[in-house]
């Protein structure tokens, strides 16, 4: 608890407040936008550099590192998605690396960047984009739109409509409303679960780190170390889950039944 705050509640609240511009629904979380874009630029910068220098000969350390990730994502996509992969594979790579970098911000000491921000006159600063529902929903709604596009692409308008109306109970007219309802719920559950899973995990993680920071300084390192090590697993796993589920959803959407 380095940042001055009169009470525990105020400290926690301070850490959970975004740096915003604008009011209500029109507000922009500047910190989320800034850090996610910065991390995204880091991603395309490093990967773009590796891609520009890519050689089929002996790869350097950067290319090796990048290739391991690309290979990993490519294998996951190959296993999950049967259709053309020109778009889906780069999508999966972007989701995986970008989300991972978002999550990685959770391992930065909770007070470090907010304190630096305060020195520069920023009253609030939240550095973990995946602990912002706007960011996670932005990803999952984009994926949702892609699910709709791939459904139409894979099954055609007629096929998609037929599936919505006749699946899973059958084509008997009285069953159509039930089918439709179920399919809508199923369809909407996908972006919801994607976004909320990522958000929930990282929000909880961040909160625990904030609570650990409230302990006396000599007692912080045991729970802090334990939680951070556990979190290395969580942030990787959550990035992987988001990517894999995206691929699976797109695969389900694209497949003809």
């Amino acid at each position: 608890m380095i940042i001055a705050a009169s009470s525990t509640a105020e400290y926690v609240n301070h850490h959970l407040t975004f740096l915003t511009s604008g009011e209500g629904v029109n507000a922009l979380n500047l910190d989320t936008l800034f850090f996610s874009t910065l991390l995204g630029l880091l991603f395309i910068g490093v990967f773009g550099l590796a891609a520009r220098r890519a050689t089929s000969g002996v790869p350097g350390p950067l290319q090796n590192f990048v290739e391991v990730i690309v290979e990993f994502v490519d294998t996951s996509v190959k296993e999950g998605f049967q259709g053309p992969r020109e778009f889906v594979a780069p999508l999966a790579l972007t989701i995986f690396v970008w989300t991972f970098l978002w999550n990685l911000m959770d391992l930065v000491p909770v007070d470090l960047l907010p304190l630096a921000g305060q020195q520069m006159g920023l009253p609030y600063l939240r550095v973990v984009p995946s602990a912002d529902m706007s960011a996670t929903f932005a990803l999952s709604i984009s994926v949702f739109i892609l699910i709709l596009i791939y459904s139409v692409k894979g099954k055609g308008w007629g096929g998609f409509a037929k599936e919505m109306l006749y699946h899973p109970f059958g084509s008997f007219p009285l069953l159509i409303p039930a089918n439709l309802l179920l399919n809508f719920v199923e369809l909407l559950a996908k972006p919801l679960s994607l976004a909320l899973r990522l958000f929930g995990n990282l929000y909880a993680g961040e909160l625990i780190f904030i609570l650990i920071a409230l302990l006396p300084w000599w007692a912080q390192w045991v729970p802090g170390l334990g939680w951070a090590i556990y979190h290395i697993l969580v942030i990787t796993l959550q990035a992987f889950i988001f990517m894999t589920l995206t691929v699976v959803y797109l695969s389900l959407a694209y497949e003809k039944h």
């Binding site: 996610s36 773009g48 891609a51 089929s56 690309v70 529902m133 706007s134």
Partner: protein
């Protein structure tokens, strides 16, 4: 908490990043990886081929070596035979030469013996005549008895 306009900004950023990755990151990397995989496969195939060629060369070398060995053995045997022949021939020639020299020596000895005998006979005759002359110096008419003495010398 909650969702606000940040979402739209994030979606736009996300789409831009995906498009960038799709255009500039994914294709070159996967192409390089696929090409490397192909090159490795080619290299392995070439190594396999090379190994096979090596094996074949080894067999060929072994065959050539065997042939050379057989040839060398034949050559040695032939040389041995030739050597024996030459030695035998030389032996024959030497024996012949030896016997020829021996023959010549014998002939010479014979000749010299004859010559010596002749000389001796003549000297004996002279001696006999000289002796007889001394004994019979008065009575004997040298001319009258010469025929008889010559006959005697011829009988010696």
């Amino acid at each position: 908490m909650g969702v606000n306009a940040t979402l739209l900004g994030q979606m736009i950023t996300f789409i831009l990043f995906v498009l960038f990755t799709m255009k500039f990151v994914w294709p070159p990397l996967t192409a390089a990886m696929a090409e490397r995989a192909e090159r490795i496969a080619d290299g392995l195939a070439a190594a396999e081929k090379g190994q096979q060629a090596g094996e074949e060369a080894k067999v060929q070398v072994e065959a050539a070596l065997n042939e050379a060995r057989t040839e060398a053995a034949a050559l040695i045997a032939q040389a041995q035979k030739r050597h024996n022949d030459v030695v035998d021939e030389a032996k024959g020639v030497a024996a012949e030469e030896g016997s020829r020299i021996l023959e010549a020596a014998r002939a010479q000895i014979e000749q010299e013996t004859t010559l010596a005998r002749e000389t001796l006979r003549k000297q004996v005759a002279v001696l006999a005549v000289a002796g007889a002359e001394k004994i019979l110096v008065r009575e004997i008419d040298a001319a009258g008895h010469e025929q008889m003495l010559n006959e005697l010398a011829g009988q010696l």
